[in-house]
Amino acid sequence: MHHIKDPLFQILFSQLQEARILLKADFPTLTIIQANQAWEILVGDSTSYSGMSFLDTKSYLSIFPFDDQTLQSKITEAISHKESISLPAFIHKPLRTAPIWLELHITAIFNSSTVPEYLMLTLYDVTAKIQDQQALRLSQETEALLLSELQEVNEEISSANEELRATNEDLIKSQERLYQLNNQLEEKVKSRTKALVESEQKARFLISSAPVGIVVLTGKELFIESANQKMLAYFGKRSNVIGMPLHLALPEIQDQSFLGILDRIFDTGQAFYGNEIKADMATAKGQVKQAYFNFVYQPIKDPEGPTTSIMIVATEVTDQVIARKTIEQSAHQLNRIVSTTPIGLTILKGKDLIINIVNDPILQIWGRSEKEILNKRLIDVFPELQQQSFPKLLSQVFESKKRVAMLGMPVDIRLPNGALKKAYVDFSYDPLFDIYGNVEAILASVNDVTELINNKKLLQDRQEELESLNEELAAANEELATTNEELFEAQAHISSVFEKLKENETRFRSLFEQSPVGMCFLKGEDLIIELVNDNMLQIWGRQREELIGRSHELARPELKGQPMNDWLREVYQTGIPKTNNELKVRLYYKGGLRDAYVHSLYHPLKDTKGKVTGILVILTDITPFVKARKQVEGAQARLNLAVQSAELGTWNIRLQDGEFSPSTRLKTILGFLEDEEMSFDEAIAQIHDDYREHVKQAIENTIQHDEKFELEFPIIVRQDGTLRWIRATGRTYKTEADLEANFSGTVLDITNRKLEEIRKNDFIAIASHELKTPLTSLKGYLQIMETKIEKSINHDIFKPFVRKSLLQIDKMHSLIKGFLDVARLESGRLIIDPQKINLGKLIHEAIEEAELLSKNHIISIIDCEEVEVFADGDKIAQVLGNLLSNAIKYSPLGKNITINCKVDKDEAIVKVTDEGMGVKPHEVDRLFDRFYRVETKHTKAISGFGIGLYLCAEIIRLHHGRIWAESESGKGTSFYFSLPLA
């Protein structure tokens, strides 16, 4: 004790800068021994403390936030550790000065033994330190917030939410961690009851130092069992609220939803997670402030199950929420700016140009509703832009990061109804940047100036119109001037013409005289014949002396009873010219009269006043022409009659241009209607397929070589498809004077005759077959007989008989064959089967057979070996056989027969030449006619029906080849035929 009373100690103690108070270690009273001046100033307590219990002092009660227990445990700790122990810093708010942070240190002072005698309590002003710490933390937090704010600007609201959710998860995690720790602590309490105090303090420290607000509420009344500093700060309360029911500790939350939620957790035992929940919290200064929290209400259950308490873990997110709200607001503001701007504005987001925001003016320009286009790609909404320059300009903005603006750009916009709207716009594309300075979106402003531009154009057009009108007027003026000049010139011309007139009269007189037509001039009312030329005298059959100076009517009495004099008077009176064409008149002729035809012109001659002074009569005598024509007409009429009565169809082809004029009858024959058009090709198309080429070839030959055209062929009637036969004949008429060269002819329907013929041919075919059957057995018997006869007696007599019988049978067979072939041809049933064959081989075979017929002729072959043709071998063999047998038959005296082959273009020409009697020129053409036989005294003895060459011609025709003959009577004949090359 003596130390304390020591004056030196007193001075030292009382003048210490640190605020100190000395207490007796008389627990739990803690009697104050002495407090120094600094203590008294700091705690604002000037009363003498000596002898008082420290726990009763005003300063203890009002300043220190610790309860007795805390203090007591701290003192115990200081004693047991024999060192200075500090309590957590706390804030002290003196009445007149600024609040300060204080930290209490407890030091036990021992006398000699281990028993503590005094306790020294020291209060340090740690305001500066704490403020520094807080400032640091605040700046850290602000920095973090700023960072997150920046990020939030970058990201969508959803990402902010995610972040918050992540924070929430962090909270849950740390809460779980704490929960675990708590459990561990509880276990420790159970197992290590002795270390209870220390453990509890450790737990409290953990909770109190956690970076989140934590509070534990116990029981239905929600007693605040413990709360850390952070939570107390959120509450805006001090630690004295611990132990109080929540609704009393925080009366301001009474009207908010939290109490209800907490009540429910007791009932349900389910945790509650709050996200950005708004709360009105009291501040330390007693004001109410709006704050936002993420929190967890975690029920804590005892092992039996029921919830005994609730732990609340909370973080304040007010700043983040406010930051976000600010962004939202600014976005909203932008939206409002865009929507209220009177020019078209849109924000296109990203390189895809998603239409993010639009206003009414731009919707009007685009002709779309907001619903149709919002959040769609610009190019999807306006595919027509693809062809225009806009998308390119927009993507340029993304790259260049520079504004693009243009005035009066034409733009085509496809309206939803499909119409194309032509518009003109002023527009600008402003880049909007993200925090990295990249273009994130484009603010496009578009002003529809279509009307303006159109008006401008209209104005321009009007001006141009006016200008062109002016030009036209100027041109018209010039034209008028030119016309004036021309008029002057014309006047000058007229006067010169006048002068030439006299000259002309002389010339007229000579013209009059020499004119190739009859001319006469009648003068005055009496029509006195003043002038008449020689031609006129000839026509009239008069002498000049009979006429000149006399009246026309009296001079030509032959006209009495004819209308000419009346007409002349009429012309004189009316002044109107009169013409008559092909006028029939009776004229004076060698003392009598003749019938004549004239063209006449009565032309009145007038003086300058228009009065008729005379008549010019011009006559042409056309009597010979008219008479000739009448004769022709008569012949034509008779011919027409003949054509009509024969029911002949006729045609005419003008060679110059191929114009085809068929007669009505020809049209009906081919199955066309009378008034229908029928072209040459259409007419040809009606010819039967098997004959068409042949007919065309014949027509061609007629036109080219003047050959006679005479054919019988079947046609298919267009109307009903029936087959009819016609006979067509014609010839070309070459140019005679004024007649155009043409190919014309007639067509006759010969169906009935032809069908009759076909029936006859059918009969022949059947007859041939019937004839062949007995011939077969006859030949068979004879052949058997021929083999047997060797062994019989008199075989030398009978053998030649049998042989001759067999030869007669062969002859008969060939006759029957001939008839049959002709019959087949006539009925159109001769069918050829063309193949690639060697002509030389075929000719050799034919020669071998022919040589059997005659031993007197030498048949030679020239240049035929290599020739390949496209033909029916059997049929061509028949042709060759026929030509050779003819050559043999008709040249009984001639010796040599030659077969010669020649290749010309795409055909082979075979020539068979004999040295026989020949044929007269006029008969050559008819050689190939059916049943035609050259009748001479030499041929009388030669047998045959005259069908061989006809058959040859038909076979060659079916091969699309040609056959002809050249002959010189008495010297020999050459037969030619052509075949297509293989």
Partner: protein
Amino acid sequence: MSKTICIVEDNPDIADVLDIYLQEEGFEVTLFDTASAFLSTYQKQHNDIFLLDVMLPDGDGISLCNHIKQDPAFAHIPVVIMSAHSQAETINKNSKSDAFIKKPFDLNELKDQLNLLLS
């Protein structure tokens, strides 16, 4: 060994000639004068070759030929068609016959043709 020839021919004289001549030439000859008689019998006997006339009172040789050629057991046996009808040769081109002989025929040529097909 002698070959068997089966002939369908309605004309008795031609049939007679063929019968005499071919027997002389060493053939065994079976004769039918109608298509139906032929059809009811030909499968029951051995045949080396068929000679068929086209125009028959109750059918035609070309149809008979086709009938034979469709029968797997007989398709390999040669068939010769004969006719006096000029168009029969054309029609026969579509049948499966092995040869065609025009009437009136030369017996030597007929024999050569038959032997050629049988060799």
